[in-house]
Symmetry: C2
Subunit: 287 residues, 2 copies
């Protein structure tokens, strides 16, 4: 297991962590000030400054990406299917332009929440079937573009409205069906926030192996958690034994970034430099 | 699958659903007015009017219990172990006095949240081991008292502070280890709120079979959910396909009550009779 205590060369900042404090250019400049060399930008932040400019600033800054956020929301009624797929094809194109190592997917769930205006349904099993069919289509496109797809299993509290893939086991089952050769074209983004509770986590990480582990995200689970969406904790402030999980991931050969992704009303209210300095400090002590 | 559309003879009210509107005596009287014949009382509500009086009123009202809430919180540091076990032994005694068909267990998780004052830990795997050891002790006691224990797998969003058993699979694994003979002394309380998201739910219900299915709880998952604890929905107001899950349970031979357990700040503010009338109506249309 790598020693993170002396430097932060394997720290990446998911730009949603500081999305309230500045645009992507401001975040890139701040990351330079803090010696951060990994980034995972979001589509809307890239669009806000323009794709070409974003790509140029990332390249000029010497950054590596740890992922591109995000594609997905693959479920819908028939009337919204084409738009959902087109949206995802554009996300793949952008990821290719940015030379991202993977496109992170929040796969969607019940159609009325996945694509607004879709006919409501309570059929989560049906959503799972449709999601997988559409993911197969997207994988064909992504393979041609050379962009690996990373399914992010989301915490079960998001099962209705954000992702019908809620365990690493389920994500890997899908990967095995769509890519039995383990080609590297599809895998998972493993976020400790979504998966720390799972009694099968260690075993499923071992099953994933290096071919499927495309990204590793960190933050912390607070007790109490005041909000389902925007009360994630800074690493070390919650109950997740992050180094233990990182140890399992690295035992499989994962040697990439620990990407900090914190959705937090509290942290969005603090200065950009304070948040990044805290991420750097906690990366050394609590990741 | 039983037809619930014409009457509500298989409706039970978990008394937490209306805990803000009156004491257990008031709830019992209100259930009589609405022709409800099943109840699942909570320990603190029983204690508030006295165990003997509670038992007498339940008996006089001709009620059957669908469970007794609750034992558990079996994890702690060493200094709090004896008190935790004693608390659970008392819960078993009370369940026996009330002739409850099972004692529902919220098993606890990290010790600092399970038993206040315990030394903090992030070791959920350790909590799981300790929980199972203590559950084995409790099972010995409960067997002698003739009280079946029902492990309630809680939603993973409660994994830190309430229960380290978060899937039906995990609960059944524990049952199989502690009671390989499937004697009926230990099983599960299956609540749709905690388990609806699980892609393995149908398969694990089939695995459980009638020997392990000791209780069936209903409410609904709202989108959005405003609070992790107290924003459960009335059946029909959310996204859970409750009849589908009840069908899986009844296909295994379960023929007991559908117990309504709703923790909801919104419903606690409505009149007792309105809440019960709504439960009766939704039992017929949405369970």
């Amino acid at each position: 297991m790598r020693d993170f205590s002396h430097d932060h060369r394997w720290l990446s900042i998911n730009t949603a962590t500081v999305r309230a404090q500045g645009d992507l250019s401001a975040i890139i400049e701040a990351c330079k000030r803090h010696g951060i060399r990994g980034l995972a930008p979001w589509r809307e932040q890239v669009a806000a400054i323009g794709l070409k400019r974003a790509a140029a600033e990332i390249r000029a800054g010497g950054f590596a990406l740890s992922g591109y956020c995000r594609g997905g929301f693959l479920t819908s009624d028939a009337a919204h299917h084409a738009a959902a797929m087109d949206d995802n094809y554009r996300a793949v194109d952008e990821a290719a332009e940015l030379q991202a190592p993977c496109l992170v997917l929040v796969v969607g769930s019940l159609p009325q929440f996945s694509r607004a205006g879709s006919t409501p349904s309570k059929d989560i099993a049906g959503a799972r079937r449709q999601m997988e069919d559409n993911l197969a289509l997207l994988l064909d496109y992504a393979r041609r573009a050379g962009v690996p797809l990373a399914i992010e299993p989301l915490h079960p509290m998001y099962a209705a409205d954000r992702a019908c893939v809620n365990t690493l086991r389920h994500a890997l089952d899908i990967c095995d069906r769509l890519d039995p050769a383990r080609s590297g074209s599809i895998g998972v983004a493993l976020d400790v926030y979504h998966t720390w509770w799972d009694p099968e986590l260690e075993a499923q990480i071992a099953r994933a192996g290096p071919a499927r582990l495309l990204a590793f995200h960190v933050c912390d689970w607070l007790v109490p958690t005041a909000d389902l969406l925007n009360d994630r904790g800074m690493m070390g402030d919650g109950v997740i034994d992050i180094p233990r999980i990182r140890g399992w991931v690295e035992a499989q050969g994962f040697a990439g970034y620990a990407e900090v992704e914190i959705f937090s009303t509290a942290w969005w209210q603090r200065p950009l430099d304070e948040v990044l300095a805290t991420c750097v400090a906690r990366h050394k002590t609590s990741v």
